[in-house]
Symmetry: C2
């Protein structure tokens, strides 16, 4: 297959847990596009040297190399205009929900689940632990200590999503769009690495996540998960 997506994993190449890779994987599926998975691990700079980049996702589509999940989404929309639209208006008008996912959702999730990640990693665990402990200024176990008690605060952060999803099936409206891919992809990170029950049944955000898990033949639902 000419199309490949480099995706983050640990020792198990089937358990792919990067929120950004999930955004791109869902975007590809939304467009009806297949892409071979190329498992990539933290610190494997050599494998991405061809892309002159040091992070995943990286999409290789024939001769094109596209780095960064946002650039991949806008590339797919331009390159495959006949496929279902990822963006229902100009992509720029969806920047806010992506920025909220990056600036609000990601850091809040990291504080809840970062300590679940090292056991899933191989030799790169040392790099991961050292870099994240430097970021947080404390051991990873201390970051997530007492995390069940922090769940109400986390769920409160989701309130804007909840307000929207009380009135419509997807963040995009009647159909999912890249806003759905961005937020849902972010939530695939904890689901892939942690048993922590982030969402309560009965929450409209939970019901929406169920709908997203079912899309594309259960692409995300069948991925290795700890159920969080």
């Amino acid at each position: 297959m000419a199309r490949k997506l480099y995706e983050l994993c640990g020792t198990d190449p089937a358990r792919r847990f990067s929120p950004y890779c999930w955004r791109s994987r869902m975007a590809l599926a939304h467009k009806g596009l297949e892409a071979e998975v190329v498992p990539w691990r933290f610190t494997d700079a050599a494998a991405l040297a061809f892309a002159r980049y040091d992070k995943v996702p990286v999409l290789v589509d024939g001769d094109r190399v596209v780095t960064d999940s946002w650039a991949i989404a806008t590339y797919l929309e331009e390159a495959y205009p006949e496929a279902p639209r990822l963006f229902q208006g100009p992509p720029e008008s969806q920047r806010f929900i992506v920025a909220w996912s990056d600036a609000v959702l990601m850091p809040a999730l990291a504080r809840l689940i970062v300590s679940d990640i090292p056991p899933l990693l191989g030799p790169e665990a040392g790099y991961f632990i050292a870099s994240r402990e430097q970021r947080f200024g404390m051991p990873l176990a201390a970051v997530t200590a007492g995390r069940e008690a922090k769940l109400p605060e986390f769920r409160a952060l989701l309130h804007p999503l909840r307000m929207v999803l009380r009135g419509q099936d997807f963040l995009g409206g009647a159909v999912p769009d890249y806003g759905d891919c961005a937020v849902f992809g972010t939530l695939m990170w904890p689901r892939s690495v942690s048993p922590l029950p982030l969402l309560e049944p009965g929450d409209p955000v939970h019901a929406w996540r169920e709908r997203m898990l079912d899309l594309h033949g259960g692409l995300a639902r069948t991925a290795p998960s700890f159920g969080g």
Copy 2:
């Protein structure tokens, strides 16, 4: 004029400070539509009885009566499809930024500026103070005490906006859309009632607000303001 917008004010009918009325006023201007201002004050239920509603904005457009700022925006888009688009895709795909304005931005602003409002009100000040003190569980002066020290936390909440506005002129992209109207309209509330300097010069959010103030011949810039 057949078109009228009922807008919240206090003793000065020119100082209109409702964030929701500002959303509708900006939406009307975006569509190039004039609408007579009908000043409305808290507790004046009789004036809105015709609309079977108890809040503003209320739009009267010929025979049509439309309540609620979101309903007004979608009504304007449907009723005036040839005028500049408020929504660049389906309106539903803009619900998230509006929900964030309501669920995150509004409460954070209230905690900073609610005590500035009673001096602007007439006899309805008693209602306002009692209802808001009940909501906050403390005197309004206590809600906003030491507010300058809370500004960094408030500005941090704006980070998703900042990330977007570093890369594009408007939340809608190259042109403003209803997402801009919703967030900017919300920020017209503090500007209209408070001298508190919410935004720092040099912040991309400040620069964007300047662009929004200039739209439509300076419609918002020339409105009565305390400069906050």
